[in-house]
Symmetry: C2
Subunit: 857 residues, 2 copies
């Protein structure tokens, strides 16, 4: 018979998948001799069994739980106050907590003080003489049980007055009112109901969203830890705390955390009472402080990572309730990783893996411009819980946040305290501001994990239903505020932002990562200013310089329109001639910015009709400018409009129709390169589907370029490459590869066409796909490995076979996505190119993938 | 040194690729002892050399030609009248003709009587005493040389009066006027210029169009045959004729052709003089007739095919000038193939290969309805040159024909005679009518080859610039006429047509083909009437029954619109319930029509917005009908409109969004099948890209169907299949195959997405692709083997590996295209499904491919 229940003492060799992360770590601490209240773990397998069995318990599981409680009674010398039992021992109360393989803080449920009933309460009172303690424990339990098992809102229990007995009675009456049943007095029944409810909480909406957001699979289920209670609410000599072994915001090597005396653990996380700084504990009890410090150091040494710990002090005795890998800000992650290398706790490879590439971007979050800050009105200051700078409209609930965000509005979620129900709202908000709670409150922990700007415990503000107040201001829903996460400051109105520079640590860390990385990280940049930014962020070249932007700007678009309207080749050439000087100028500026690295320039890609005016006013203006009738413009626009523009007259198709564009662009590129003595040119042809298209265009490029080059005394070894963005191109990649120096996968279009899925149109029905589990993620965000990926694999194989010196890159949106980069590394892609902002994360991810040694199966 | 010139006597072992078809057959006849004027062939390699060498001759080629003429002079005892030579022998005149590997009748140029000049003419006159013959020969030569070499229009030589010397002088003056040079008197110079011109004629526009139309590659070039002249214009005892060894219109076993006395060959083909029937030759000279008959029989036996022959009689002596495989009408092709099997000339397999699948469809060309004919006014009657019935507007030139046809108009090309310049116009006309020319004139031969209705030699009409006249009628450009190719009758106005039944021979022939075929031929049919037609044409089942048409018809579309507008699922279901009875009715009618064969029904495919009104008037009507505001309709329409509808919310995506459609359609299908006791059901799901989409829909189909089936006492073993029309589906075909019974490739959409090419938008730029040789053909007409084909290959391999009992078919437009069918056979496709009209051709093509034993490499 399968073992579904493990005592801590039995669990040392069992893995976290079975025990859950929390259970596993408790068992581990137990075996290390760290003071942990005794208990046992019901496995994730039991949870899976429960779901398969129509949410019923196997008899076998029940009997293993009975046995485990029996054991617990023996170890503690305490006893469940079942109605049958008449032993006069001290009552056994237990905590019942969830704990999946991957920690999901606050997502699932916990019940404390289980086992209490009238009889137990009476005995406890007899033994301890602490009425307040017993009442607090009992009321808490009724409330938690009602909430977790019966879904009775906690607010139903607010403002109940009376003496001990009256309050208990009123609480139980509320329970009976809501459920139609008497409150359950039998400890085992309480326990079984609690376990089932916790199993079920695996599938509550916020847990699902959390898993989706964090890419945690929906299979697996949660384990349940049942542990003898130790009471932080036992009086002034008791308390509870949360501590990190290093500062999770800055990464400093110091114990960081909070402590509440005479309280149970949930009080800190929930943010109801604002706790004191952990260092104050040192003054209160040096011996406890010392125990905590020693335990913290030991656990960090043992687990080789920064720990997030919960502890409780019962009547002066120190207990550890939990330890786990601590969440940390990106800044802290970097500092800790670097420090641990210096401390020889971990090696360089491990350090690189310790920072989530996605976190890196949060370090590039803009700061407010100093000058702008000076002009702005500071209205409040709270705790700086997560760095960054956010500007947005004030909202007071998740619903509104979602609604406004879906309309493209930036919002800042303002609450007294956040709770797990707010996860979605936090996700889409630019920043979070709470009036209560400390640095380890729900809002603070979650926001740091999300890399989201967050200010908590901002007592300066009073949050009401549709506005918040400070001493001198009233801020309504919809008003703009600006929040600075690194200082805790809140300003009225919008403040302009600028890009922050890399910190010294980030630079050091990314250099370390670079030393482990093989895949090249280039950037997409169309303008000199973007090129500069890309280089600042560590790009090793420009992997995609789109030239169409050069045609859209103010006075140029008219020449472009002239070209489109021109009825003959020579008139088109005349219009293009006017564009030539602009292009030359643009390219020269770019080349000057990046003298020693390569630049991939893509020839004109979009359909012509994009250059035509869309509304009447613009049409009129253009008709006047170009001296033709608006009728003609209308006719032309309608002639150029397409049923499926995505698959229409664009890219190389346009270039083949109007080879004079190829000649003009080649001329501009080559002349600017010669003038700036730039020689790392790569010219890229878009939308190739057939090798003959490529040959046609290549011939014109080569002829045009070589004619110019031969008349100057500067040699340019320009390369020619092609986008692989049409499924057919991937299939005939062998033929194409013989004609080019490089491939660049345009994974956006390749995804659209491989799926037959228009990016512009699919959002409205993809929601239904997610709901039904048909797609797990948006294929435009994470590369589809099975379909698009397989095509890429085919193309790379054919391409490199046909041309062993072929370079292969990716320049679609996926080039900056960590999950996709992992796959590209497996495929043997030589470079990725992403927007400058995503370059640092990509540098890290490239290194992580190399270290994970994920080679192509 | 390569041999570029072969005497007939040297050429026996050399192939037609080198000698051209005409030259090869002449050499063959020569070696068989058939009387052929002596000559030699300049090879196609010489032609290719010429083009590679900037249209100049190699010295080597020139010297080989000199030597060959030398030889010819020896054989004939005649001699080129070069200015240098002073021999007093009879002048050698030669014909210079083109002749490529594949015969292209009338497409390239011919020059007769070359070698004539003033001196030769004088001697000929001395020797023959026939002034008229010499004059005719000389003038013809000047005209032909001017035309072919110097591009001087033949019409420039019309109506020149004078005596012999005056006329010659005037002709030469015209030449000098146009070219600035004296007419060339030197035979060798004449010869070299003529050969070059004929080489060049390989690339004249009409030859190019002919090759494109007939899928002949542009590489290869033409050979040139130089042959001693025999003179059909030598007097009354001379003449020239064209004969087929069997009747090319009906296939009857009889000599068929025409004869003109005292004429040269071109006179017949050009249709300038109307010749006499070949049988009249029997009366004129039985011995000549007998020689022709014997030769014809022998050549047919030797070549195992019907022959198209040219012969000339010079002063009572019979010469063969050409033999080749004869073009024939579809009807004749079938009769000849069947007869030759009976005659044991060829076997069944060969017989099947003898009919072009594309020709078959011409046999299905509609006839005029008898009743309608009786009511119509017969205005003229000509020779029934090619069967069929055509209705269209009269046009008098190719330009107008192209213009009107491009606007979607049906046109009938009416001319005195057609010439090679009219090929394009004939191609797009519905029918051809000429006033001159016989059954072997240009118009007749070409139209038969095209399977196009044609009436020639219609002396009842007089064709003028912008109208034609009969005795009592004047028909203007743009007027409708109706032309009956099988009777030669021309009617005024439009006559209604009906589909012709299969002839007995066609039936017999297709049954023969069926016995050789393995691939199944199914039809696409959405309505009971189409199903009937498909079965009449021999379809072995329905491979695609689209259900969307069932939603578009008058009163139904309103229910469909109700469904789209319905805000809730239950309201949608109510609207669908109203559609259910229509669907049941439609399916029942279909099933009744086809009790014993299978029907593949595809669930709803098009995007919802196609059901919404497009213009204001319709919007208003619908608003009234559905009792909502036009504003709402507008809003909905704009909400449903898509940027790229091709890749939008359609097919299985729609079904997943509205599963109630799946349930309704399944219910309709299963209930109708039960009521009609139909059990060969196959349900097909469109636009699948991921196996989870398929599973989602399949589950609903199975649940719905099985619930209904289990409540009735009739068992239906319905099958479930999927379209493979999205590139991704092909790539993950292994997974998909495990869930389905069959794949049906939707090659239209698969082509669109594999190429990233919108069918609706591509026509405007594909022209440029053809001109630049980037595409050879429209990928929507002939399957793209390299790209789309490769994806199909991948899908079939993965699919059949994963599910060995998987059936694989094609239901796109390509299913009816011969070239594509050949490829599908190679791929191991189990069935093709095409429109009913294309079924007979597909049956034949399936057999041909099987015989050609084209198995998958």
């Amino acid at each position: 018979m399968e073992k579904f229940v493990y005592l801590f003492s039995e669990a040392k060799e069992v893995n976290a998948k079975i025990l859950g992360c929390k259970g596993k770590n408790l068992a581990e601490m137990y075996s290390l001799g760290i003071p942990v209240p005794p208990g046992f773990i019901i496995t994730t397998n039991a949870c899976e069994f429960f779901f398969k069995n129509e949410e019923k318990f196997e008899k076998e599981i029940e009997s293993q739980i009975f046995e485990a409680i029996n054991n617990l009674e023996k170890i503690t010398g305490k006893c469940f106050c079942s109605s049958g039992k008449t032993k006069n021992t001290e009552p056994l109360l237990v905590s019942v907590r969830s704990g999946a393989k991957v920690s999901m803080p606050g997502m699932m449920d916990t019940i404390l003080n289980l086992g209490i009933n009238d009889k137990a309460a009476e005995r406890l009172l007899d033994i301890t003489g602490k009425r307040e303690f017993v009442q607090d424990s009992y009321l808490r339990f009724i409330q938690m049980f009602s909430d977790v098992v019966m879904k009775i809102s906690r607010s139903d229990f607010l403002n109940i007055l009376g003496n001990f007995k009256e309050k208990i009675k009123k609480y139980k009456d509320i329970y009976k009112n809501k459920t139609g049943k008497d409150f359950c007095e039998e400890p085992f029944e309480q326990l079984f109901e609690a376990i089932k409810a916790i199993f079920r909480s695996w599938n509550n909406p916020r847990a699902k969203i959390y898993r989706k957001t964090n890419n945690i699979p929906d299979a697996g289920g949660t384990a349940v830890t049942v542990q003898a209670m130790v009471f932080g609410n036992f009086g002034e000599n008791s308390g509870t705390g949360v501590a990190f072994s290093r500062n999770p915001i800055t990464g400093e090597k110091e114990i960081f955390g909070e402590y509440l005396s005479n309280a149970q653990g949930e009080d800190i996380v929930a943010g109801i009472r604002t706790p004191v700084h952990i260092k104050d504990l040192k003054n209160q009890s040096f011996s406890i402080w010392n125990k905590l410090k020693k335990t913290s150091e030991f656990l960090e040494f043992y687990f080789k990572d920064m720990q997030d710990m919960e502890f409780t002090i019962e009547n002066g005795k120190f207990y550890m309730l939990q330890t786990r890998k601590g969440k940390r800000s990106a800044e802290a992650a970097i500092k800790i990783a670097l420090d641990m290398v210096s401390e020889k706790l971990i090696d360089e490879e491990e350090a690189v893996k310790r920072v989530e590439p996605n976190q890196i971007s949060s370090l590039l979050h803009p700061d407010f411009e100093k000058k702008e800050i000076e002009k702005s009105r500071l209205i409040a200051k709270g705790l700086p819980a997560a760095p960054g700078a956010a500007v947005g409209r004030v909202v007071f609930d998740t619903e509104k946040a979602l609604e406004w965000a879906s309309q493209g509005q930036d919002v800042i979620l303002v609450k007294n305290e956040t709770s797990p129900e707010d996860i979605e709202g936090m996700q889409i908000s630019k920043g979070i501001l709470t009036s209560c709670g400390g640095m380890t409150s729900h809002a603070a922990v979650i926001a740091r994990g999300m890399g989201k700007c967050c200010v908590v415990g901002c007592g300066d503000i009073k949050v009401l239903k549709d506005h918040f107040e400070t001493n001198s201001n009233k801020v309504l829903e919809g008003d703009y505020i600006s929040v600075e996460g690194s200082t805790g400051k809140v300003y009225l109105g919008k403040i302009k932002k600028n890009h922050s520079k890399f910190s010294e640590n980030l630079n050091k860390f990314l250099k370390l990562a670079d030393s482990k990385r093989k895949i090249l990280v280039l950037a997409n940049a169309d303008r000199a200013s973007d090129v500069k930014k890309a280089l600042d962020y560590g790009a090793e070249g420009i992997g995609l310089c789109r030239t169409e932007h050069m045609f859209f700007e103010s006075e140029r678009i008219n020449f472009m329109r002239e070209m489109i309207i021109a009825p003959t080749k020579s008139e088109r050439e005349a219009a293009l001639e006017k564009l030539l000087k602009f292009q030359i100028n643009d390219f020269k500026e770019i080349f000057k910015e990046i003298p020693n690295k390569s630049v991939v320039i893509r020839l004109l890609d979009p359909p012509l009709h994009e250059f035509l005016p869309k509304n009447k006013k613009d049409m009129l203006k253009i008709a006047l400018d170009l001296k033709i009738s608006t009728e003609d413009i209308k006719e032309l626009t309608s002639k150029l409009s397409e049923v499926n523009p995505m698959m229409g007259h664009r890219g190389c198709r346009l270039l083949i129709s109007y080879p004079e564009i190829i000649r003009m662009q080649t001329k501009a590129i080559i002349l600017s390169a010669i003038e700036t003595k730039f020689s790392n040119l790569e010219i890229m042809i878009p939308l190739i589907g057939d090798v003959k298209e490529l040959k046609f265009i290549k011939e014109i490029i080569v002829k045009t370029a070589d004619e110019i080059i031969s008349s100057y005394n500067f040699n340019i070894n320009y390369k020619i490459g092609t986008m692989i963005e049409i499924p057919r191109a991937a299939i005939i990649a062998g033929k194409i590869a013989k004609e080019v120096d490089f491939f660049s996968f345009g994974t956006n279009d390749l995804t659209q066409m491989t799926f037959g899925l228009s990016r512009d149109d699919s959002q409205k029905f993809l929601k239904c796909y997610y709901e039904n589990g048909i797609y797990n993620s948006d294929p435009f965000t994470h590369i589809d490995r099975e379909g698009v990926g397989e095509l890429m694999k085919i193309a790379i194989k054919l391409g490199k076979n046909a041309n062993p010196s072929l370079k292969v890159g990716v320049c679609g949106e996926h080039g900056g996505d960590s999950e996709s980069i992992e796959f590209f590394t497996k495929l043997g892609v030589d470079y990725i190119s992403c927007s400058p902002f995503r370059v640092p994360a990509a540098r890290l991810q490239g290194a992580v993938c190399e270290i994970k040694n994920l080679f192509f199966e």
